[in-house]
């Protein structure tokens, strides 16, 4: 990968009249990694993705998609970008296969290669059996999968996926995760926005948090050394609490369960706590991060904003 591959956005702004949809966003998504774009509703995620996809011109700031500027070098940038919008329609009267061959033709892929590519992608998103059905008979989740296939037709270097998991059944979600990991392993840059944070936990390498149109935090999901909340349960909760009172860090009772929540600085601290608990003769039945990394980070950010 070239050093300037992936997605680089700096100081990007965009307003619609008096509304500053995107006020100041910095974002870097590296090739070979899945980057999660996380933010509350109305935080500017979709607007940002529209600018990255080259549909909307930013008021200020610079964007590079696989090295190309979507404003000045629209054609090159478009040829390298695959975009799946959050809400999209399908050409109702076309069959799933025709949708893909049409998109292939629109990407200037010749007809024979386009047909092969369509079959391959239909197989990939498990729509082969419905390939020759008109698109309007597809369910929401199936349309979503077709939308993903459409974004992949021209084998783009950069994938922009806006809420790709919405409407998908559990099986398809797993397939999506496997597919995205696979594409990332091939060196593609993948930016995914979603609200389902536990899911992003399992597929994302990095996360960019935006709120109110600004980048508020950027972190690595795999980073185990950040302080976070862990959930601790024991066979005898009272004994566990008593042991913690004496030896352990500060804790508090989980609001809606039997576990105890402790703030630990990282994986090493967790291991140390577990070891000392076992040595101290406390019957610990589980010690695990409470909620996903991203969920915690997200909630922490929300907390700060209030």
């Amino acid at each position: 990968m070239t050093p300037d591959g992936g997605i680089r956005a700096q100081g990007v702004r965009r307003s619609f009249g008096p509304v500053h949809a995107v006020a100041d966003v910095d974002l870097v998504a590296a090739p070979g990694r899945v980057t999660a774009l996380i933010g509350p509703n109305g935080s500017g995620k979709t607007t940002l993705l529209l600018m990255l996809a080259g549909l909307l011109a930013p008021d200020a700031g610079s964007i590079r998609i696989a090295g190309a500027d979507p404003v000045a070098e629209s054609y090159v940038a478009r040829s390298r970008t695959g975009w799946m919008p959050d809400v999209f329609g399908t050409w109702d009267s076309l069959t799933a296969r025709e949708v893909l061959t049409t998109v292939a033709a629109a990407y200037r892929i010749d007809a024979a290669a386009g047909r092969d590519r369509a079959s391959e992608l239909l197989e990939l998103v498990h729509l082969s059996e419905l390939a020759d059905q008109p698109a309007h008979v597809l369910s929401r989740g199936q349309k979503q999968r077709l939308g993903l296939a459409r974004a992949l037709v021209h084998d783009p270097d950069v994938l922009l996926l806006d809420e790709p998991a919405s409407g998908l059944d559990p099986r398809s979600r797993v397939d999506l995760r496997v597919l995205l990991r696979h594409l990332a392993a091939e060196g593609k840059t993948i930016l995914v926005s979603s609200h389902v944070l536990t899911e992003l936990d399992e597929m994302a390498d990095d996360a960019v948090f935006i709120s109110g149109g600004r980048t508020v935090d950027t972190r690595s999901v795999a980073d185990g050394d950040r302080p976070r909340t862990w959930r601790l349960t024991g066979l005898d909760p009272a004994a566990l609490a008593a042991w913690l009172d004496e030896n352990g860090p500060a804790y508090h009772q989980e609001a809606d369960g039997t576990g105890l929540l402790v703030e630990l600085s990282g994986d090493a601290a967790a291991a140390a706590l577990l070891r000392s608990a076992v040595e101290g003769g406390v019957a610990v039945s589980s010690l695990a991060p409470a909620g996903g990394v991203l969920e915690q980070a997200y909630l922490a950010l929300e907390e700060e904003r209030r």
Binding site: G54, Y75, G89, V103, A105, Y107, I109, P134
Partner: protein
């Protein structure tokens, strides 16, 4: 998953410019892709097929009724049915087809862009490697082809009317050609408005208003301008002799006299009539300058053509007020009048009208292409990008 995709670097008409294709880049490959997509979308909706069948039935019915009515008329009038009424039927059918075409064509194109935008299918097309010009012209081609299907469905009836006699076969050719061009222009105007406003109903209304302005408002303006374009001038008149009392039994002598008369200079405003689609279609046929033959034929298209040519001719010069009063032995005789019978100009009107209409259509395409340029800096009120 294999990632080998063979991307055609240069489509047939594309040359080597594939790397930096701009807004106005066009390729046969891109145009065909959009046109085929649009037609597939449209043709598979049964609504469209029904419309075509209804159209065929309605035009057929009108042709049948007109033919029948004139058949009965000529039988009743005791003229022996020998008189040709082909011209009348022909002009009614052509007028009707054009009228219906002006009603139907806007519906084919005025939702092509904002409809797609609302359905969320436009942006997914814009992010591909198609240029805005390819998307717009592809959509134009599709709606034009659809409009031409209606025209083709009416051709049997035009030919039928032609068989009735009285119309030159060349007229059929020019008529169909002009009808096709006019429908294309209407599609292009609809497409322009479709890119301009967000609601499909809004763009349809604006398209109808534009057609209405060209078809109705301009001719009305032409009429309203009559007082302005009329001036009082000295006109040479081949008049009845001075002092003729009209009680004498002998026919008057004719002589040249000069009168102060209002003269209508329609040659200054004839161009207001030219863009009217009916005028364009009528004027493109071969001119029949014989007024009496026109009146006998009842070919309204030919009369319309004569009318606009007359308007373009304007001031016809000296007038003859006398020759009709010259009798000998109780019978009207036509003495040699020094005033030439009015000859309408053979200067064409339709190229100006069609030219204007084509400019309107080109403006529609231009607006649409500009609106589809990405990345967009401005959004039309109330529209979403995707």
């Amino acid at each position: 998953m294999s990632v080998d995709v063979e991307v055609v670097g240069s489509a047939p008409a594309d040359g080597g410019a594939a790397r930096g294709r701009g807004t106005w880049s066009l390729s046969w490959h891109g145009l065909r892709t959009v046109t085929v997509l649009e037609l597939r979308q449209r043709v598979r909706s049964t609504r469209w097929k029904t419309a075509l069948i209804v159209w065929f039935a309605v035009v057929g019915l009108i042709t049948l009724l007109t033919t029948g009515a004139f058949q009965m008329l000529s039988d009743d009038s005791g003229l022996g049915g020998g008189e040709s009424f082909g011209g009348t039927v022909y002009s009614i059918v052509v007028g009707f087809v054009l009228f219906l075409g002006l009603l139907v064509a806007p519906t084919l194109s005025s939702g092509a862009i904002n409809g797609d935008r609302n359905a969320g299918t436009l942006a997914t097309l814009q992010v591909t490697l198609l240029s805005p010009a390819e998307i717009v012209l592809g959509k134009l081609a599709a709606s034009w082809i659809a409009a031409l299907a209606f025209l083709v469905a009416s051709i049997p009836f035009l030919v039928w009317a032609l068989v009735g006699g009285g119309v030159h076969w060349l007229a059929l050719l020019t008529t169909v050609l002009m009808l096709a061009l006019v429908l294309g222009v209407v599609c292009a105007i609809g497409l322009g408005f479709s890119a301009l406003v967000s609601k499909t109903s809004g763009s349809a209304v604006l398209t109808y208003l534009t057609i209405g302005a060209v078809t109705v408002a301009l001719p009305i303006l032409f009429g309203l301008l009559v007082p302005v374009t009329s001036t009082t001038e000295k006109v040479e008149v081949w008049d009845v002799e001075t002092g003729y009392t009209w009680e004498e039994t002998t026919a008057p002598e004719c002589e040249w006299r000069t009168h102060e008369l209002p003269v209508w200079h329609s040659e200054r405003t004839w161009w207001l009539l030219a863009p009217n689609p009916f005028v364009v279609v009528a004027d493109a046929q071969p001119l029949n300058g014989n007024v009496e033959a026109l009146a006998n034929d009842g070919n309204m298209l030919a009369m319309l053509q004569y009318g606009v040519r007359y308007a373009r001719t304007g001031d016809t010069g000296p007038q003859d007020w006398c020759s009709d009063y010259v009798y000998e032995n109780g019978r009207e005789v036509q003495p040699d009048s020094p005033v030439e019978p009015v000859q309408v100009t053979d200067q064409l009107v339709w190229p100006w009208g069609l030219g204007f209409d084509l400019l309107l259509g080109a403006a529609g395409v231009f607006v649409a292409v500009n609106r589809l340029r990405i990345p967009t800096a401005e959004l039309p009120q109330g529209t979403r990008v995707a």
